[in-house]
Symmetry: C2
Subunit: 208 residues, 2 copies
Amino acid sequence: MAETKIKKKRAYHHGDLRGQLLSAAGNLLEEHGPDGFSMSDACRLAGVSTAAPYRHFANKQDLLLEVAKDGLQRLGAAMEANASQYERGTIQSISAIGRVYVDFAIREPHTFRLMFSTRSHSGRIEELREVGRASYSVLLREVARYLGEPDITETVTRAAFPLWTQVHGLSFLAIDGKLEVTSFPVDIDESILIATERLLPPATGTKA
Amino acid sequence: MAETKIKKKRAYHHGDLRGQLLSAAGNLLEEHGPDGFSMSDACRLAGVSTAAPYRHFANKQDLLLEVAKDGLQRLGAAMEANASQYERGTIQSISAIGRVYVDFAIREPHTFRLMFSTRSHSGRIEELREVGRASYSVLLREVARYLGEPDITETVTRAAFPLWTQVHGLSFLAIDGKLEVTSFPVDIDESILIATERLLPPATGTKA
DNA sequence: CTAACTATGTTATTGTTGCTAACATATGTT
DNA sequence: AACATATGTTAGCAACAATAACATAGTTAG
């Protein structure tokens, strides 16, 4: 009886519904795409009724926005962690960032798409952009080191942008199945390395 | 009376409902995105009831697939037309193709996204891929001319792929509002020209 | 010419979805 | 103990994609 009472108490107030909804939405997003799962599906996974999520998220868009923000943060952390395994400010550390980027896209394509889509996040895009800028600055700092620039100067942003463009394009081509169109096996790592070498200006910093 | 009779006849059997639905869907797609318009909206524009479209398209996905196919065809035609205004097989004609590509993405972002998305076209992706290959071959042929290759050899596909990657990435960054993040004004035409020069191997054909 | 067939339209209906309203219960504060 | 707040429930709506049953126009065969 006492146990039942406690169970009922726990059953009513969920404890960490917000967190579990985010987790459920993240999994469902990757498995079925943003339109392939319903709020009810997420509710069933979290074990609550269909109206419960709206105490924590304004709507489905809002829930997915948080999933996207989390994705951008994880991407930034992964890029930093991977770059730090090479000598900083080198072609190697920079292309390592690119590899992490494309790997993320391939591993979590739906999240990746959502992270960079402007639509679907009508109201609160600015939050997403802010997290995105933070993650992008990982690349910017690395390129600044490569160029021997003391700060994120325009020289740095101009050098970094084509690299972003390249790995971004490679990511989308990969997740949309366009790497099999090309009649030769695309080696992603090699593509990134070559593109990095060709698109970056020669290093003027201390490192060659 | 006779006129009324004719009008009624014309009102019932629409004449070119399929075409008008495609046109309506294309317009609605660009204005509101794929999830921002309903079948009913398209029906109202075409002046028919909500069940009429299902005589011509299996479902909404199917309707949008046809819109995407049309977009790929128009892109291919535009690339060919624009490349032909320059000396064939040159950096100029090749980067012209890239400009058309990015311009299309900017002008019709939702169609562009749909053209390259794998999801949303579950059943009949192969049709889309076929049209896509035909459009891609415009670039392949131009690069073959540049390299002096008689055919679409592996040398050609290897040289062309990084170019596609670059303009594809630039397109997505542009339509997702990422060109304003960079603290310097991105000149799209210049970006494409520079990237083409750097990513292409030196010309071995007759043209320099 | 007309009868049957096919193509293409209509109205009515269904099941699902995102979301809200009204209500219930737990937690925290005074 | 009483009240306020946060967080859950059930019931239900309007919009949606899609289907079923029916209606009408064009087309073809006898």
